[in-house]
């Protein structure tokens, strides 16, 4: 478990602000203990200080994962969020998108959200904004990036893409071995 370099911390936070905006502070500034980000083999883990100290007793070679994997740094030093981060992102996301029950499966198989599958969207969502995608019963099922703003959505034709798929909970099965 390595501490993130300043450069990488910046990249990580910039990515997180795309989804949860100012609420990133709430991930760090928590009343129930100190939480921090650690890096292992380019994966970033969100871990409490208490758990980290326990994890440090394990030999680094033998430690596979500790805490919650938020994502990974690619070879080109970009940060990619994993679906495992959804638990922490979903409650803080200011921009949300709800999909109709008929379009849920399509999304969970890794497809983009199209206009016909769009149930509801947060007012004033700009274009290219990171959004968390919910079912109509308010269960977070993934996240993506809007392809159109809310106002544009009204005039879009039914097959137009509203949000680009980035991660969904179907990945827990589909890419089980690459997630952590």
């Amino acid at each position: 478990m390595k501490i993130l370099s300043e450069d990488r911390t910046r990249i990580l936070f910039e990515k997180l602000t795309k989804y949860i905006g100012v609420n990133v502070k709430l991930l760090i500034d928590r009343p129930d203990g100190t939480y921090c980000f650690r890096e292992k083999k380019d994966r970033v883990y969100y871990i409490s200080e208490r758990l980290l100290q326990l994890a440090q007793t394990v030999k680094p070679d033998h430690l596979v994962s500790a805490g919650t994997c938020f994502g990974k740094f690619t070879k080109t030093n970009k940060f990619r969020l994993h679906i495992t981060a959804l638990t922490y992102i979903a409650p803080y996301a200011p921009f949300k998108l709800w999909v109709k029950p008929s379009a849920e499966q399509q999304f969970l198989y890794g497809h983009h959200v199209i206009k016909s599958g769009l149930g509801r969207i947060t007012e004033n969502t700009p274009k290219n904004q990171g959004v968390v995608i919910f079912t109509m019963s308010d269960i977070p099922i993934g996240f993506g990036v809007t392809a159109r703003s809310t106002t544009d959505c009204r005039h879009a034709d039914p097959l137009a893409t509203i949000a680009f798929h980035q991660a969904d909970i179907g990945e827990y099965i589909r890419s089980e071995d690459t997630l952590v």
């Binding site: 602000t17 100190t34 004033n124 703003s149 544009d152």
Partner: protein, 354 residues
């Protein structure tokens, strides 16, 4: 009789001076005659060992007794007489003594040995002599008589077609051999340096710009940029410029090596750092997002227009007005013709719409 008594008395006095050679012990002692060692496992007399006056006497007597027992054991061994002296050949010692010097470390492996170990390559023993078909005799693999055999074998070396016909093949062979020897020597020295962890300068020709690869050029740029008094901190950056990465690049860039060994901050300090970093990122974002503003404006306009529509002609049109509409609240006017739009493609053209 006097004389006999006298002698006996003298003997007795003499015997009194010496202590008995038989020692009674509660527990048998453990002997290792080979190292002349006895160990007494009997308990010490705690009363005697605590008293100041008798402690030394007690310990002395104990030592004497035990020594007596050891000597008794030695006398049991077969004695020899060499040059008027009685000697005993001691048996092999049984007590294992720890070694004085530390255990020698295993010799550090050479680079080849390491590689061979990783790949599982094992050395196959070659026989020293080999049958030479050409010379019709046994020729050694190396060493004595090898050079002579080689000389006899290579009395003539043909010049290959692709070479200059005037080349001296003997000289060529000699230089090849000397180069091999030099290379081996260099590798030997490198192995020694590696084992002792001595830094050695890199070997090889410097890369010229016309033959450099993109990674090499990127590395050169990064190194050049960092080669200022402030380690390149105030150098301008191109948009999307990337720092050179790769094996061994990091060590070349000045000021990089130290940065890597930053200590892990305390949890509180780390939290502080993270929060200030987030603040910086949030501050950096533009206050006015043009696209958001435009879309917001369009949205407002649309809302306004729809509001206007509602307020201008609240009761007209077929769509139910959203407000407090009821059955009685409709216009009594007849729909006028010639003002609406007709949709001929629809099944039921119906009445004209506005």
């Amino acid at each position: 009789m006097d004389i006999v008594n006298d002698i006996l008395e003298r003997e007795q006095k003499k015997a009194e001076k010496y202590k008995p050679i038989v020692v009674e012990k509660h527990l048998e002692l453990e002997f290792d005659v080979g190292t002349l060692l006895t160990s007494d496992t009997n308990d010490l007399d705690s009363k005697l060992i605590k008293s100041d006056q008798e402690r030394d006497i007690y310990l002395q007597s104990l030592a004497r007794d035990n020594t007596q027992l050891l000597l008794n054991k030695i006398w049991e061994l077969p004695t020899e007489r060499i040059d008027e002296a009685i000697v005993v050949r001691l048996p092999q010692p049984t007590t294992v003594l720890p070694r004085a010097k530390p255990v020698p470390k295993p010799k550090p492996l050479t680079k080849w040995q390491e590689f061979a170990k990783a790949k599982g390559i094992t050395k196959t023993k070659k026989s020293k002599l080999e049958w030479d078909e050409q010379l019709q005799k046994w020729v050694p693999l190396y060493g004595f008589r090898k050079a002579a055999a080689e000389k006899e074998k290579n009395w003539l070396i043909p010049v290959p077609q692709n070479l200059d016909p005037m080349t001296d093949m003997y000289e060529k062979k000699a230089t090849e051999k000397s180069e091999k020897v030099a290379k081996n020597e260099l590798q030997r020295l490198k192995n020694i340096a590696r084992a002792r962890k001595v830094k050695i300068p890199r070997v090889g020709l410097p890369i010229t710009s016309d033959k450099a690869s993109s990674t090499q050029l990127a590395t050169a740029t990064s190194v050049a940029k960092a080669s200022t008094a402030s380690l390149g901190k105030f150098q301008d950056k191109l948009p999307k410029e990337k720092e050179a990465r790769g094996k061994g690049v990091h060590e070349l860039i000045p000021g990089k090596e130290r940065k890597r060994k930053l200590p892990v901050p305390t949890p509180a300090a780390e939290k502080e750092q993270n929060l200030s970093m987030i603040d910086r990122i949030l501050r950096k974002r533009p206050k006015i997002d043009m696209e958001k503003a435009v879309s917001k404006h369009i949205n407002e306009e649309q809302l306004q227009r729809s509001e206007e529509k509602k307020s201008m002609k609240p009761m007209k049109g077929r769509g139910k007005p959203k407000g407090k509409g009821n059955a009685t609240n409709f216009s009594a006017k007849k729909p006028k013709g010639g003002k609406g739009q007709r949709n001929p493609s629809k099944k039921n053209p119906g009445r004209k719409r506005r």
